[in-house]
């Protein structure tokens, strides 16, 4: 039932004659990590932007995005409940680590104490207990990646998009963070779409692979 489906998605740059890639249709079932592979520059990030509702005004897209049977193609980004892990962690520089998580934490958690407990629990899961008041700029690359994942998950997304989130990590950290991210998101049982140009990401995801 929980699925993310794309049908005949085509994106072209404003004024360009041809689309960035051939029409794309795919179904991402819940609990699996589907990988879309393609060379750099083909428009993988643009596809992610389109699915998440962040497409810039320089692009024109056609096709449909269905989430759990509902057409969300024209729903606003903040109402789609589609989480994204970007290439950079994009932690808010003006907020502490804990406040970054609280920013993501779904509004259904009421009360200051309850929200703080949820944030602390997430920090604990990420192996970052006691980091609540830290400045995100002082974290290591691996720590930032884990905070970014926790922030995305606390928003309780109905689907998750991963835009090469491991591309900037070095080889050792990459394996570690990848398994951390994958094990956490598998546990959520939501559809996950990963775009990457790296075959080792697809292998680790152990799900269907689609070529762009």
């Amino acid at each position: 039932m929980n699925t993310l489906a794309l049908s005949d998605v085509e994106i072209r740059r404003h004024g360009a004659s041809g689309p960035l890639f051939a029409p794309l249709s795919l179904i991402v079932p819940a609990g699996t990590i589907t990988t879309v592979m393609g060379p750099s520059g083909i428009g993988k990030s643009t596809l992610i932007d389109f699915i998440g509702g962040h497409l810039g005004s320089g692009f024109v897209a056609t096709g449909k995005i269905m989430l759990n049977g509902l057409d969300v193609t024209h729903v606003r980004a903040e109402n789609r409940r589609i989480g994204i892990l970007f290439q950079d962690e994009l932690l808010f520089p003006h907020l502490s680590v804990g406040d970054n998580l609280a920013f993501g934490l779904a509004a259904r958690h009421h009360g200051r104490a309850a929200r703080r407990r949820a944030v602390d629990a997430a920090l604990e899961q990420a192996g970052l207990a006691g980091f609540h008041d830290r400045d995100p700029a002082t974290l290591s690359g691996g720590q930032r990646a884990r905070v970014a994942l926790m922030r995305a998950l606390l928003a309780e997304p109905r689907a998750l998009l991963l835009d090469e989130p491991f591309a900037k990590l070095d080889a050792e950290l990459r394996t570690e963070i990848r398994s951390f991210v994958f094990s956490h998101i598998r546990a959520r049982g939501v559809p996950v779409l990963l775009v990457s140009h790296d075959a080792s990401d697809a292998d680790a995801a152990a799900g269907p692979v689609v070529a762009m």
């Binding site: 962040h54 903040e78 409940r81 994204i84 950079d88 520089p93 003006h94 509004a107």
Partner: protein
């Protein structure tokens, strides 16, 4: 983040900007124009005629005033551009370059009138410079009889304009340089055998100039039509055109209002003519420049020119700083007779008596400044947020719209605007002054805020949307806090612009609103330098204090946020 989201916001902003900013300027110009051709019902003039123009050209000194305006405006702008360019070329690569904009702060923040008064105190025959070199070097025991201020040529005015405009152009130029890969291009040029300075002028300047062209026009328009600085430093009989117009408008003889309006319209033509002349000169310079570049001269000889330009720039900055110090000294002077280098007696008497007048002027200035700045900053945020939500680039016409109040000379539409306000019963109050000042504060706030706003990482905004934050929360909880530093810098600039306003306060306040600037300009012709010094010091300190606050407040709020502690201001 689709277009429809911001439609109401954009509509609202457009309505405010056209209704609040553009319309007043156009109706002001229209009313001035009508008066220039004989229609001003308020004084019973109701028939079209050319009489105001005929009268204007019989007024004494009109020809000299026109010539003086063109000469001081064009000369100061051209010199300012040359000096700023030479200085930029000379300091490039110097490690202290990024601090230059901070050092410029005080000179940029100090209003024109305060600096002009300080310069007058400095270079007058009885000024600080003469005192410091007398009598040992000059033999003067009495101030010499030389016209160093209010000279017939307008040289003192040109000097005053330079002290203010060179730092402004430097700041603009340094900002524009950030958008060009200067180092790589300099290296490429030098590898071809060009000297440091020459490669800057042959390669970098042609790329920088288009980016600073509008600000250069603003400087030119300002220099061609400045009033407060010209009253203090410029020739007095005949004065430059803008001062002559102001005098005629405020003359006891109301029949002068019609020719004054004709002259105000002529002032607009002077600015248009000046800009046209400048554009022609640009064409010639571009052609000559291409010829010069094609010749391929490696030009080691450009070095001395750059040294001269940066030397002159440093002297100007030194003059500006000394002028501010001189003001401060005069404000606490009890007795200072010529030719002592420093006062013989000190006193804080005037400072201790705010009731003597400066207290209420200080409060008026602060209230007007804060309100105007708040309006301008809110409108700028609404405008920029509207652009964001529409996901569109700023159109060329919108950019010109923002610059419009800075390109049209104030005197050309302020009287007409006053006529409109009078008819609407709005004149003479604080509200009218605030509105009129906002016309000039908003553009500067917009210009200061636009680049940092666009430089904000869009993906941070996307990330917050992906976490479920709606447009309002994205603005308030993500964008504004991250942009705190540039927001406060823009506000400080807006406040400084407001404090410096002279004509809008004069015309819209109908003599009932006295700010530090209007009082200082009035006092500058008087004889008590100590009182004038107090007003001018306050005038300079008020914006400077805001600048300092704009620097330290974000540093304090974000003291534990390394990601924001550096960053562009």
């Amino acid at each position: 983040m689709t277009g429809a989201e911001g439609r109401w916001l954009r509509f609202f902003v457009l309505l405010l900007v056209t209704g609040g900013l553009v319309l007043p300027i156009l109706t002001g110009l229209w009313e001035t124009g009508r008066a220039a051709f004989g229609i001003l019902p308020a004084i019973g003039a109701e028939t079209w005629s050319l009489a105001p123009w005929q009268r204007l050209f019989t007024l004494p000194g009109i020809g000299s005033s026109l010539k003086l305006s063109l000469w001081t405006g064009l000369a100061s702008t051209l010199l300012a551009l040359l000096l700023a360019t030479g200085f930029c070329a000379a300091i490039h690569g110097w490690s202290g370059q990024r601090h230059v904009s901070r050092i410029l702060g005080p000179l940029l923040a100090a209003p024109h009138a305060a600096l002009a008064i300080g310069i007058a105190f400095l270079i007058a025959p009885s000024g600080w410079i003469a005192r410091m070199i007398s009598p040992w070097a000059t033999g003067w025991n009495l101030p010499p009889n030389i016209a160093t201020v209010n000279d017939q040529m307008g040289l003192a005015l040109v000097l005053g304009l330079l002290v203010k405009e060179v730092p402004f152009l430097l700041l603009v130029m340094l900002g524009a340089l950030g958008q060009i890969p200067v180092n790589a291009q300099l290296a490429a040029g030098r590898a071809l055998g060009y000297g440091r300075g020459v490669v800057w002028i042959k390669v970098i300047l042609p790329q920088v100039y288009p980016l600073i062209r509008l600000p250069v026009f603003v400087v030119l328009s300002f220099a061609l039509s400045v009033v407060d600085m010209a009253i203090i430093l410029g020739p007095s009989n005949p004065p430059v055109l803008s001062v002559a117009v102001t005098r005629w408008y405020f003359a006891a003889d109301t029949s002068l209002i019609l020719p004054a309006s004709a002259a105000a319209l002529a002032q607009a033509f002077v600015v248009a003519f000046g800009i046209l002349l400048w554009i022609c000169a640009e064409q010639v310079a571009a052609r000559a420049g291409r010829w010069w570049i094609r010749r391929g001269g490696r030009g080691y000889s450009a070095g001395p020119g750059l040294i001269l330009a940066s030397g002159a720039t440093l002297i100007l900055m030194g003059l500006g700083a000394s002028a501010l110090i001189d003001l401060a000294i005069w404000s606490v002077t009890w007795r200072w007779s010529f030719p002592s280098a420093l006062p013989e007696g000190w006193s804080s008497g005037i400072w201790a008596r705010p009731g003597s007048g400066w207290g209420s002027a200080f409060i008026q200035t602060t209230v007007i400044g804060l309100t105007t700045t708040a309006i301008a900053v809110l409108l700028a945020i609404a405008w920029l947020e509207g652009e964001d939500r529409a996901g569109m680039q700023r159109a060329r016409w919108a950019e010109v719209l923002i610059y419009l109040p800075l390109l049209v000379p104030q005197i050309a539409f302020l009287y007409g605007l006053n006529v409109v306000f009078l008819r609407a019963g709005l004149t003479g109050g604080l509200g009218a002054v605030i509105w009129a000042q906002a016309l000039f504060v908003f553009p500067y706030v917009m210009i200061a805020l636009s680049d940092p706003w666009r430089a904000l990482d869009r993906r941070l905004v996307c990330a917050s949307a992906a976490l479920g934050a709606g447009p309002m929360r994205r603005l308030v909880a993500v964008k504004l806090p991250i942009l705190l530093r540039p927001l406060l810098t823009a506000a400080a600039i807006g406040f400084a612009v407001s404090v410096a306003q002279y004509l809008p306060t004069l015309f819209m306040g109908a003599g009932r609103v006295a700010t530090l600037t209007t009082e200082a300009v009035t006092l500058s012709s008087g004889s008590d330098r100590r009182v004038t010094g107090v007003y001018a010091v306050l005038q300079a300190v008020l914006p400077l204090g805001t600048y300092v606050a704009a620097l330290f407040l974000p540093a304090f709020v974000h003291r534990n946020r390394r990601g924001l502690s550096g960053g562009a201001a």
